[in-house]
Symmetry: C2
Subunit: 442 residues, 2 copies
């Protein structure tokens, strides 16, 4: 391994909290964000919650000289909210919409309408192919009783699948966004262990930012500290992750976050803190890997075993979600049947005279119509809910099937270890630093 070319790459990520007319000081904050970006001239800017395309276009105009290339990912009802700006030409873009993303009737949470997804853009940095991903997972509204946990686990599962399968040809991989996952949360472990992506916060040589790298801080004026409870200071849920390849080694030289306030401005950029990472890419003249040592084999076996545990844990979580979804579907069906029975009874009362009992005490006409309307409303609502829950059940079952398959495949490979199976597929140093990131299917 020898270094020939060293390239510096600056990556920026921010959840902009850009809900027009609802987010506080939205317009002013976008102006501040635009100023910051045109001043700092990061190579790659990955934004989340840019809910309005008008705001994206406004930023695009402002950054036309510093970041001539951009892409806005559209999905769901109000868009995925994800945008990327780049100094390097974007050659290709691809979007993967998560199969599960909350419930449409939880309109006050709004996640379903946002059409959460992971977006990928491919850009060439010099002669290197960089696959850059931006994502935003479903929010966690209550950590103790998190009804969205199975959805978020499935999203993390699909995110790692998408990155793993679309990054085979990449020289370097970057993922940034609001994962809505704490560093040790199941989804985060699943993502990092399966893809081999490294966390810029834990890997950086130099860090300047909030304590423990938190990105949702109690000091932020847009945040209600009670919502962060029991994490008094805040939580770390925004990330810049990266990995190299046999052709490129990556080091995180420095990572910084904003710290709530912005000098000379009355409020911060957003309710989240912005992340800014300085990555150093070194192109490798010689392909790494090939002759693994016994120690590396053990390490890869250890990683495999860890991965089996994590996927099994995820599978359990998905099964819990499946149980809930099936119960909800059953409830919808039962309520629908009751509505139908009531409607039939009403029709019978209307059609068959002797059921109306005595003529001097007729069934009150207004109540009769009201009840009919109620029955119809119940029928329509439960029908729609039944359809929705069936789709949820299918998606959860699909994820669980894939996880079962993955566990089987991992265990098979684990069993093969003492017999010295082709290990270069399991334990290939990706970028010279980490001897054992796991790339199960390349």
């Amino acid at each position: 391994m020898a270094d020939s070319n060293t390239i510096r790459l600056r990556v920026f990520s921010l959840n902009c909290w850009g809900i027009r007319y609802l987010s506080k000081h939205c317009r002013e904050r976008y102006a501040m964000i635009g100023e910051l970006l045109s001043r700092e001239e990061h190579d790659i800017v990955l934004l989340q919650e840019v809910w309005s395309e008008k705001d994206f276009l406004c930023l695009k105009r402002k950054l036309s000289s510093t970041h001539p290339h951009s892409h806005y990912f559209k999905s769901g009802v109000i868009g995925s909210g994800m945008a990327t700006f780049s100094r390097h030409r974007i050659h290709d873009a691809f979007l993967y919409r998560y199969s599960l993303n909350g419930y449409p009737y939880m309109a006050h949470h709004g996640d379903w309408f946002g059409g959460k997804a992971v977006g990928m853009v491919i850009l060439n940095i010099g002669r290197l192919a960089a696959h850059v991903y931006v994502t935003h997972l479903h929010a966690e509204y209550c950590r103790e009783k998190d009804s969205y946990l199975p959805h978020r686990v499935v999203q993390a599962w699909e995110l790692q699948q998408f990155i793993r399968h679309t990054s085979s040809g990449a020289d370097l991989v970057i993922l940034a966004g609001d994962l809505n996952l704490h560093p040790q949360d199941l989804g985060n472990r699943l993502l990092r262990t399966y893809t081999g992506l490294r966390d810029s916060y834990t890997e950086t040589a130099k860090f300047d930012g909030c304590e423990d790298g938190i990105t949702l801080i109690a000091d932020n004026p847009f945040i209600n500290p009670k919502e962060l409870c029991p994490f008094e200071k805040g939580i770390r849920i925004d990330y810049i992750l990266y990995k190299g390849s046999g052709r490129v080694s990556i080091q995180c030289e420095s990572l910084s976050t904003t710290k709530g306030s912005v000098p000379d401005h009355p409020f911060p950029y957003s309710d989240h803190e912005a992340l800014s990472a300085d990555l150093q890419l070194q192109t490798l003249t010689q392909q790494a890997g090939g002759d693994e040592t016994r120690g590396e084999q053990d390490c890869a076996a250890g990683k495999l075993a860890e991965l089996v545990d994590i996927v099994t844990e995820a599978r359990t979580e998905v099964k819990v979600g499946l149980y809930c979804a099936e119960r909800m579907r059953y409830t919808a069906a039962r309520t629908g049947v009751m509505g139908m029975a009531l409607l039939l009874l009403e029709l019978a009362i209307a059609a068959v005279p002797w059921l109306a009992l005595r003529a001097d005490q007729p069934f009150p006409r207004a109540s009769f119509y009201l009840l009919g309307v109620l029955c119809f409303a119940i029928l329509i609502t439960t029908f729609l809910l039944y359809i929705f829950y069936t789709m949820e059940v299918k998606a959860l079952q699909g994820a669980e099937d894939q996880m079962r398959l993955a566990v089987g495949s991992l265990q098979e490979r684990l069993r093969g270890f003492p017999l010295a199976q082709p290990l270069n597929r399991l334990c290939r140093p990706l970028d010279g630093q980490d001897p054992c990131p796991l790339e199960p299917e390349e």
Copy 2:
């Protein structure tokens, strides 16, 4: 280039038309399909329209000895209907759900409920990594006035994106399924030109099957020949496509289709004909490519120019779809506003006595309630439709954005041609036979 190992790979594809209780002779046909598969022992079996998981499980039991590995892809309300059986171990599975897939209120067409998608399984054939894809695109119900055309074009676009981005690490790629596209349809050209996939029907050395390779034939007793009009004999919409890589060269030795009837059985396997391809894989000891000739450059430039034309055509089609979706959304909004106005008028009549005009001619009570219910129904329906059309608009806009980006990128590369840009990215012989399949982003 030299051959060392030759592997024979037999691939089977069939749209099973397996709607329980609705498709004719469903159970008997599954029994026949099971017999055929366990007798023929294809390496890879890719089925579509296996709508019931029970039927999949039944097939799985029957094929447990010949095809020990299987995967059933779940999505939508009734599942994607796609299943795969393999003699080789399946290591990984991944599903991409198309962003557009018809309309839920077109329940008689049913496509929306099917959750159309493309499924990928990764299997190792010897030392080769095979990425095997199965898909089923939205049906074409009326060729002259095909309102689903933009949806199918977007599906073809997403299909080629998915295959292109997830197959970089593959030694060989196989795609089979019911594309619902004629050989020269826009979506088909888009798919083949962008991915470099080759059609086993046009490439095969030996063909045994229906005339012109048609897979939906007029002679099939389950088909109403009128529906095939103006294609009297039938149409070719089911395919087995393939490509190799720098490590593997693929030849299609023979391709066969069923011909409507099955010997000793009163009816055929399905309303579609089954495809069976014999592929011959040859592992290459020496990597192909590296020194392109002028002729190959021209060929790659020609392919690029062709691709620009095709993507532009697709973009136009998507724009037409976008126009329709926006119009439909506008109609939904306008109808909703009218419903709301009527409801307000009703409420005003009820609340303000002088609006009820003369007391001796009151607004009939029954009509009053009925009108109220109608208003509510209009409001709810138009609200749901508005949400749905907005999602359709977003998905179409997203696809159009990606197509614009792709055209820009392709044109940029085309401009660079006379200056001899790095051509190995553009014109890399994939498997020794075709000098110029196009792999824009690897």
